[in-house]
């Protein structure tokens, strides 16, 4: 079956083409054969390849294919789930009957009228990468390697990697919806190690640059995304860290740079806005719709519609179109990110946030591209306004306690701000605080929005999904900086 989604006339025939309406109806009928409110079928065909260059040599080349079906049955808040890699009708019916065991009322399901869902095309690929020869990808890695080494003689080691994937999904639901989508992902990364000095005073630091987005080979033609630019950036970060000073410690003003600071928003606020945590009342945002939860400067959005972005989806993994959702508006909590199960509980519409890692996993409310909308301030004025503080530019990632929003993040690029100017690069900087508290303490919000181009992956309940993050430059009145140098 094909419907909605981007249809590429030159693509080879997909195994998902063999799934016809009659088969889908029989499987859904088997899934609902013991009762239940709803059932869906999730077919996934994924093929990918990866290449790693290390110490000037192509060390690893890899390729893989997975194909399977996940069947889900819902009865109230309960889920029955089964999956199979064997797409014979017998095995698929067996999976449907296994998923059906969550229900037991024995009610016979009615006929299902299957109709395609009309979808947007947010990642049409003009240069599909999997069909291109491997030597073309190896060439990209060599270019990054050469650029990183040429940047500075202190660069002693370089590793570059490329991973490409095409994921095809077909969702058919007992509500009669059918959605088919082809989702590309290109990921590129370079890491450089710089070394200086001898013996006891030898310094070694690593720098990384890379990104991921829904493109084919055209990924590399974009400004800032060529192999050379990533190679030079990785080298620049490594060299910069050689003379970094210890980060200060204690509560102080922090300026969060545009783009990567969005990880703080994602972890410390975003997860708390997923509907399942609020249904279970384990989130600190539970029962607070309509209340003021942040500074009036703050509007938090989860948007699955941004063209080619890593977190973008034409359709979520339950067959609902990706959409733009305002979650906090001018400081007031207005909504949660919903999957189908949560949306029934909250008697609201699904929001296009029902995502799964693969056909082996049941959907959960997940983020897509999550960001803080820009404000009015000039980013330069924001830095100038700080007498003593830290400018946070790049993040390694972090952890959060969603029940209260407490977080810890490690920074991979940060600078001391002294009398309104960026001075020394810092090492060993951590930000320790509380998400909702940070949103209340936003005192300046830049007009310069940036969506990070980085490779961000969100983990929840053992399931990973690709996501996007972003913010404008912003000033936080106070965050505790974890460093080793006391004033």
């Amino acid at each position: 079956m094909s419907a909605g989604g981007a249809a590429d006339q030159t693509a080879p025939r997909s195994p998902l083409d063999a799934i016809d309406a009659g088969l889908a109806e029989r499987l859904l009928a088997a899934a609902l054969g013991s009762g239940g409110d709803y059932a869906d079928l999730y077919f996934e065909h994924r093929s990918g390849a990866d290449f790693v260059l290390e110490d000037g040599r192509i060390r690893t080349v890899g390729r893989g294919v997975t194909l399977g079906l996940g069947v889900r049955v819902l009865r109230g808040d309960a889920t029955g789930y089964a999956y199979t890699e064997e797409l014979s009708e017998d095995r698929m019916l067996e999976a449907a009957r296994t998923a059906a065991q969550i229900a037991s009322s024995g009610a016979a399901p009615g006929a299902i009228d299957i109709r395609p869902v009309k979808l947007a095309h947010r990642y049409p690929v003009t240069e599909p990468s999997l069909a291109r020869p491997g030597v073309d990808k190896v060439a990209l890695l060599r270019r990054a390697d050469a650029a990183a080494r040429a940047f500075d003689p202190r660069v002693v080691r370089v590793e570059a990697s490329l991973a490409e994937e095409q994921r095809e999904v077909l969702v058919v639901t007992s509500d009669g919806h059918l959605a088919r989508d082809s989702q590309p992902m290109m990921r590129f990364g370079v890491s450089a190690v710089a070394e200086e000095g001898e013996g006891a005073s030898r310094q070694r630091q690593v720098g990384r640059s890379g990104g991921a987005a829904r493109f084919g080979m055209e990924f590399f033609a974009r400004p800032g995304q060529s192999p050379e630019e990533h190679g030079r950036e990785a080298a620049r970060l490594a060299i910069g860290m050689l003379h970094a000073v210890e980060a200060p410690a204690g509560p102080m003003e922090v300026v969060l740079g545009a783009g990567e600071s969005g990880i703080l928003l994602h972890e410390a606020v975003g997860h708390g806005l997923e509907a399942d945590f609020n249904r279970k009342r384990t989130s600190n945002y539970a029962d607070r719709i309509g209340q003021n939860v942040a500074s009036p400067l703050c509007t938090v959005v989860d948007d699955g519609t941004l063209d080619n972005a890593r977190g973008t989806i034409n359709v979520d993994d339950e067959g609902n179109p990706g959409q733009r959702n305002v979650l906090i508006e001018n400081g007031v909590l207005v909504g949660y990110m919903q999957d189908r199960l949560s949306s029934k509980h909250f008697t609201t519409k699904p929001s296009g946030n029902g995502r799964r890692q693969s056909f082996r996993h049941e959907p959960l409310p997940r983020m897509t591209n999550t960001f803080l909308a820009p404000g009015q301030d000039d980013p330069e004025d924001i830095i100038k306004s700080v007498k003593h503080g830290v400018y946070a530019k790049r993040f390694a990632g972090g952890q959060v306690n969603i029940s209260n929003g407490d977080f810890v993040f490690a920074l991979t690029e940060s600078y001391l701000i002294e009398d309104g100017k960026l001075t020394a690069p810092l090492k060993g900087t951590n930000l320790i605080g509380n998400g909702p508290d940070v949103l209340r303490k936003v005192t300046m919000l830049g007009a310069d929005f940036e969506l990070s181009q980085g490779t961000w992956t969100c983990g929840k309940d053992g399931q990973s999904v690709p996501v996007g993050i972003g913010t404008p430059t912003m000033k936080i009145a106070e965050i505790t900086v974890g460093g080793t140098k006391t004033r």
Binding site: F51, R57, I58, R59, T60, V61, G62, R63, G64, V65, T66, L67, G68, D77, A78, T79, G80, Y81, A82, Y83, T84, E85, E86, A95, T98, Q101, I102, G134, V135, V138, K280, R281, T282, R360, E362
Partner: protein, 177 residues
């Protein structure tokens, strides 16, 4: 080491069989060599999983499935490629073996990446009594009972424990070769 036979059942499902995995692995080895590889390593895994989630005493999730996958590393002229597949149809396996060998040509020779010599390989695999037969009796009902018992005990520790994210019980049975 498994003491079960190939006809053993696991709550109605076919029990993963190490001999079947071995047969598939040997088949892939021969396909890889026929496809032009100088050497190859194969790992076949076959497993069945059960996961049950309970919250505040109510069943929230029952998940059950079987899964099979094959990983292959081929060597040709000291160059290696690592590939995986879950498509076990005969034509797919043959194509997979051939394409893996072609892929190796892109890598660069690594003299340290060769296979161990035959005399370095294990001859006897001791039976360390790692297989617990009672896993066969862990079905959905038993999983729910155990998850509920765990969550119940946590909620009863103190009256200040007022909520729960849920309790999960999971069981996997697998064979590999």
């Amino acid at each position: 080491m498994s003491t079960t036979t190939t006809t053993a059942k696991l709550g109605g499902r076919r029990l993963p069989d190490p001999k079947e995995c071995q047969h598939l692995a040997e088949q892939m080895l021969s396909l890889a060599l026929k496809g032009g590889a100088d050497g190859a390593e194969v790992l076949v895994r076959d497993g069945t999983e059960l996961e049950v989630k309970v919250r505040l005493g109510e069943t929230e999730l029952i998940k059950e499935a079987g899964s099979r996958a094959l990983g292959l590393r081929v060597l040709k002229d000291d160059r290696a490629a690592v590939t995986y597949t879950s498509d076990f149809t005969p034509s797919a396996l043959e194509r997979f073996a051939r394409e893996s060998v072609e892929l190796a040509a892109l890598a660069e020779p690594d003299p340290n990446g060769d296979l161990p010599s035959p005399d370095e390989m294990a001859r006897e695999v001791p039976d360390l009594d790692l297989w617990d037969e009672s896993v066969l009796s862990l079905d959905v009902a038993e999983g729910i009972r155990r998850a509920r018992a765990g969550e119940d005990a946590a909620l009863k520790v103190d009256k200040r424990v007022t909520n729960s994210e849920g309790a999960i019980f999971g069981r996997t049975v697998g064979a590999a070769a």
